[in-house]
Amino acid sequence: MNGLPKLNFDTMTPAEFEQYLPELFASSQGGMVSQNPRLKKFLAANPDCAALVSDLETIAETARSLFQPDQEPSDALWSKIADKLQQEPGDAN
């Protein structure tokens, strides 16, 4: 779906809008569809679509915070790895 440049969002139905949403998210800077000036009028006229976009942006933004790890393996795991490494050719451990 690469016809985004030619589309007139002002005359689009919500169903049509959702068809283009995956591509809109993929091509918007930072995934911020709500900041796209071409969509301003459409989103103002379609609060359900604006709410959907806002929610999906919130989910994507919160997902970025999951990048920082909050889990760690058991302490025994390094011993297991070190044991295996001793059997490796080249024996670096």
């Binding site: 995956p22 591509e23 806002s54 999951l66 889990q71 790895i81």
Partner: protein
């Protein structure tokens, strides 16, 4: 429309103090240096495995595999991307290989990536969807991600959490870029649905929290 200038993963993986030296020493067979690389990256590798697999035991096994693989392949690391980017790609490929061996033999992920109708997000134009209450907390999102069908979960983790681009995901999952975009969108829609009823989300398997 603009596209992102660089891989998000590279931007999110700034060099770690002492890492470059440890890599060079480990390449020359210094066991302490490899142990340091493990200490620096074990959490990120393990968390990635745990999210992709949803199982503590399997996640530990794959973390072990990832570091053994790292030991064997370290000599081929040329520093063209951030070390953690390289290590994460290596880990993702190992986990995907493991998943294919486990249940996806002879069938590409492209064909099995689509969940059943029951699992697919429900969209009903004409009726008003209740909006999420402004923000989503990290723990609740983690539980919702764990509840996603595997195909959706994989694309969501790789793109929205790990920062891979759609073309990289398409290569890793052996699917088209369009399919990756579409699956990501469906994953986010499904998450929205799940996050509206957070009380129904399952409690995650007990895990050890990072303490530092």
């Amino acid at each position: 429309m603009q596209t992102k200038p660089n891989s998000g993963l590279f931007k999110r993986n700034p060099p770690i103090a002492g890492e470059a030296e440890a890599i060079e020493r480990a390449k020359n067979g210094d066991p302490d240096a490899f142990s340091k690389l493990y200490a620096l990256h074990k959490r990120r590798v393990y968390t990635l495995c745990l999210r992709m697999l949803g199982n503590v035991s399997e996640a530990e096994d794959m973390t072990q595999e990832a570091f053994l693989h790292l030991f064997r392949k370290l000599g081929s690391f040329r520093g063209e991307s951030a070390f953690s980017t390289w290590l994460h790609r290596l880990t993702v490929n190992l986990v995907l290989m493991h998943l294919r061996k486990k249940g996806l033999q002879l069938v590409s992920l492209e064909e099995t990536i689509n969940p059943s109708e029951e699992d697919a997000p429900k969209r009903d134009f004409g009726s008003r969807d209740p909006q999420l209450a402004g923000s989503v907390d990290r723990v609740t999102l983690e539980r919702a991600v764990a509840s996603l069908p595997p195909g959706y979960r994989m694309v969501f983790i790789l793109h929205d959490v790990e920062g891979f681009e759609h073309n990289e995901i398409a290569t890793m999952l052996e699917c088209s870029t369009g399919n990756s975009k579409s699956q990501l969108h469906k994953a986010r829609l499904k998450l929205r649905e799940l996050l509206r009823q957070p009380e129904q989300l399952p409690v995650l398997e007990s895990s050890r929290e990072v303490t530092q």
